[in-house]
């Protein structure tokens, strides 16, 4: 398992480099497969194909929102099935993990909420917590089971007086990562602010001080080191989403 995961990191880093110039998500292989067109037309052809793929991805957002059952729970597992060690994954290597200082930490809550205020860690820790042992599924295909604990995100949204008729909740993280989710998923009972992993304070590599744990979404939709969150009707996008991963990415 360890070797396998290292392998994934290598593959991921290699693909990030490639991504810089292959933003369009098209390879030459795709072109030669699907057309015999003149090279001078290649860019407009590329753009047209990419437009079609992007439109299909938006369509798939809609299909997934329609399929999403707000009451259906992700399966939970016994302690014996927990993956140990739980893999580290980010858009950077483990040696670059951000260390957030617990005494300075402030969570900014903004956008369409009644109580726009800053939350300190002791206040957050005082909220009633729940635990879950669920499967984390990575967009790359691998999965791992872990135990997370923290307050239900829906409770927190209610506490800050969020307008739950808004469409999105956006997140900004200490590692410059950002992402956003649909309100239905934000209100799902298993969407939690994970302050703890395996009954310990969430370590930096898993996103100290907290990560939004969403067992109904792929791993990259679970932001770590969350510094700010906001409720909005404007699509905030996301780090990977803006590069081409499907936005909804629900499980």
């Amino acid at each position: 398992m360890d070797n396998k995961l290292k392998n994934h990191e290598g593959v991921l880093l290699a693909s990030i480099e490639r991504r810089l110039f292959l933003k369009r998500g098209l390879s030459l292989g795709a072109l030669s497969l699907l057309s015999g067109c003149d090279l001078s037309d290649q860019f407009t052809y590329d753009d047209r194909v990419q437009k079609m793929l992007t439109a299909m991805s938006r369509w798939n957002d809609g299909a997934q929102a329609w399929l999403f059952d707000p009451k259906r729970l992700a399966p939970e597992f016994p302690v014996s099935m927990i993956t140990d060690p739980f893999p580290f994954n980010a858009y950077y290597g483990e040696e670059e993990v951000r260390i957030v200082d617990s005494t300075d930490y402030k969570l900014e809550v903004g956008g369409m909420v009644r109580e726009k205020k800053v939350w300190r860690l002791p206040e957050l820790y005082a909220l009633p917590q729940v635990s879950q042992i669920t499967r984390h599924i990575c967009v790359e295909g691998w999965s791992a089971i872990g135990k997370w604990s923290g307050p239900r995100f829906s409770d927190f949204l209610q506490r800050v007086g969020a307008d739950t008729t808004a469409r999105y909740v956006g997140f900004k993280c200490a590692d410059d990562y950002y992402t956003s989710i649909d309100m239905a998923t934000a209100l799902h009972p298993q969407t939690i602010m994970a302050f703890r992993y395996a009954d310990q304070v969430l370590p930096p590599k898993y996103g100290f001080p907290w990560k939004l744990r969403i067992p109904t979404k792929l791993g990259f939709k679970n932001p770590k080191h969350v510094m700010a969150m906001f409720v909005t009707n404007e699509d905030p996008g996301g780090y990977w989403e803006d590069k081409g991963y499907n936005w909804f990415s629900g499980s």
Partner: protein
């Protein structure tokens, strides 16, 4: 001239061929992001450029594969085409025909009548695509389609099944194309539907 393949079968055949090509080559790229086994698919025969691009192709072409497959199956059932072509099929006749095919002695004189080896291969291909779609749904939506996933040993079991159904369909395509090369007139009949002097 005799009609070997009805128009709807020809159209869905070629749409399916394109959908399978896109699904398999983009699927290989997705596999490479987190390989199940100790090998990778060569980059040059994958589609998408990077994982995100491959996923976009895969999740676009899945609609083409599924809708086209539904049209084919619905037509096949309601027109009686499937039953006429694929049934009856007996294991004994199938094994006999596969053995004579391997000896190069299998007759394929009337292209509109399938021998037992063909029936088994085509039915097998249909079942493999159904297996690919079901295991694919379980991987795509292991929570919403938990019932399907749980039948396959949850998410990781569905991944394995998806992979092996892919291997099955790729083997089918290799044999299928090899057979078409051996009996080239079958290629034209899948385009025109007719057979000269048929």
């Amino acid at each position: 001239m005799k009609t070997v393949h009805p128009l709807l079968v020809r159209v869905t055949h070629w749409v399916n061929a394109l959908a399978i090509l896109v699904m398999v080559t983009s699927g290989w790229k997705i596999y490479n992001a987190s390989p199940l086994f100790d090998f990778l698919f060569p980059n040059d025969i994958t589609l998408g450029g990077w994982l995100g691009g491959a996923l976009q192709w895969h999740f676009a072409a899945m609609w083409l594969l599924a809708l086209n497959g539904l049209i084919y199956i619905a037509y096949g059932i309601f027109s009686g085409h499937l039953a006429r072509r694929m049934l009856p099929i007996s294991p004994k006749a199938m094994i006999g025909d596969i053995l004579s095919a391997m000896r190069g002695k299998l007759s394929h004189a009337d292209l509109s009548v399938y021998n037992a080896a063909q029936k088994a291969a085509y039915l097998g291909a249909i079942l493999l695509v159904i297996g690919l779609i079901l295991s694919g749904l379980a991987i795509w939506k292991p929570v919403q389609f938990y019932v399907i996933a749980s039948l396959m040993g949850d998410y990781e079991g569905a991944r394995l099944l998806h992979f092996f159904c892919m291997v099955g369909i790729v083997l089918f395509v290799l044999v299928h194309v090899a057979m078409v090369i051996l009996v080239p007139k079958t290629f034209l009949t899948m385009i025109t539907g007719k057979l000269k002097n048929g």
